[in-house]
């Protein structure tokens, strides 16, 4: 189901023991606010749909504020390098794909999938040859998606990759969906930790027309995160969400389908947001249903023929609202009981950002 390659995360040569610790791909330190804005490190993120990078393709993507090159080598293995030639920093993405390596367009320097300089054609034998000086990330593919471990520093240890349970269960059928939103990633997290917006923003949707427009919520701890759920309603609207902290941070939730969506009951969603930069996000969803045999085939047909567009309309309601929010929309709010989930996720991420900023500072002592 998944393939994974672990490669060293080579950082800047200034980093190292007793020296300044830089964030991989940035050549500088970031403070807690910058880390929170551009994305917390030391975790796996979904990067891009697998179908967008065919064998022999080179694709430039920005994630967590850094330009990366995705390329699929001649054997089909996906590689992810910082999009920057170690020689004079030209983007590797404008160079040439040479099967197992890429060649920079500027001076022909060749870098392999691990970030090692394998040839300097202009100066054979040059000391740069054989050195691993381009940041390369550990990558995995599964659920139709390319994932990568985005390290904080070059000393970061790559953690094991694990798909969310819902995407790694043969009894569950899923479709992936990808979108780019001009909205900070933290707004995505706030939105999904706020189930109550379903009964208002999505009232006229195919799936969230039912249920009460008032509720009481509670937080319930789980071994992988926490539930934020209505105490008085389940199975009628967007009534609960689980924030899961495994090798990736993601949300897991279920929303009822109308009878017209066919057999199989509620559908499940796995949702993740990867920062592109501080103002834009790559948004990944998997729509799932626990169905087998002919019911599985019917759901897949119905999804492709009619349901996907309905799901998309709901997602667009979220996007349009979040893109309309001011850059400081999460300052000076007046939260109420329904926002306990929002407050909790903000605290979790703020603590992470502080912790990661402290690691960077310790390295410069």
């Amino acid at each position: 189901m998944t393939t994974e390659t672990a490669t060293a995360a080579a950082g800047s040569k200034a980093a190292g023991k007793g020296k300044r610790k830089y964030v991989v791909g940035t050549r500088r330190q970031l403070d807690a606010a910058e880390l929170a804005a551009t994305g917390l490190r030391d975790r796996w993120y979904p990067i891009y749909p697998s179908r967008f990078v065919g064998t022999g393709d080179m694709v430039k993507v920005k994630r967590l504020g850094v330009d990366w090159l995705l390329f699929r080598d001649a054997t089909g293995q996906i590689r992810m390098l910082e999009d920057r030639c170690p020689h004079r920093s030209a983007p590797l993405s404008v160079g040439q794909h040479l099967g197992d390596r890429v060649a920079c367009k500027y001076h022909g320097v060749q870098v392999d999938g691990q970030g090692t300089v394998v040839s300097v054609p202009g100066m054979p034998g040059c000391a740069l040859e054989g050195r691993t000086v381009t940041a390369s990330l550990a990558v995995a593919e599964g659920a139709d998606t390319i994932f990568a471990f985005v390290p904080l520093t070059e000393d970061s240890e790559v953690t094991g990759f694990k798909l969310p349970d819902r995407l790694d269960n043969p009894e569950i059928s899923w479709f992936s969906n990808y979108a780019e939103w001009i909205s900070p990633w933290r707004y995505y997290m706030d939105n999904v930790l706020d189930p109550m917006h379903g009964a208002f923003l999505h009232r006229d949707s195919h799936s969230m027309f039912g249920g009460d427009t008032s509720a009481r919520f509670r937080i319930r701890e789980t071994d992988r995160g926490f539930f934020f759920e209505k105490t008085d309603q389940r199975g009628k609207n967007f009534d609960w969400v689980e924030f899961c902290r495994e090798s990736m941070d993601y949300v897991d939730l279920e929303i009822p389908y109308a009878e017209s969506a066919g057999p199989g009951g509620s559908f499940g969603i796995v949702g993740m947001s990867t920062p592109i930069d501080e103002n834009t996000s790559a948004v990944f969803h998997w729509r799932t249903r626990t169905v087998s045999d002919w019911e599985r085939d019917v759901w897949r047909f119905m999804y492709k023929a009619t349901l996907e567009e309905k799901h998309w309309a709901v997602l667009e309601q979220d996007r349009e609202l979040l893109e309309a929010l001011a850059a400081d929309a999460d300052r000076g709010e007046h939260l109420y009981q329904h926002d306990l989930g929002v407050a909790r996720i903000r605290r979790v991420h703020e603590a992470d950002a502080q912790k990661q900023a402290a690691i960077l500072l310790d390295g410069s002592a």
């Binding site: 001009i182 009878e259 017209s260 897949r300 023929a305």
Partner: protein
């Protein structure tokens, strides 16, 4: 400025065939009436005047086979 990727249909290539739209519409109508069992769904399709791809009335084998093809 980011050129935003916003694509409503990502699970299929191109617009659905009119036949598929008609079939999905009929199934939506049948499901909306609360029918979720296979024999009743097949009866529902036949009552709506839709034929299987070979021009014959739907039966279980034809329905399973066509859904397998369309749901791939």
């Amino acid at each position: 400025m980011l050129e935003q990727y916003l694509e409503a249909n990502q699970s299929r290539v191109g617009p659905p065939h009119p036949y598929e739209q008609k079939l999905a519409g009929a199934l939506t109508e049948i499901f909306a009436s609360g029918t979720h069992e296979l024999p009743a769904i097949i009866t529902g399709l036949n009552n709506l005047g839709l034929n299987a791809p070979d021009g014959q009335p739907w039966d279980e084998a034809r329905f399973r086979s066509e859904m397998r093809r369309l749901g791939e």
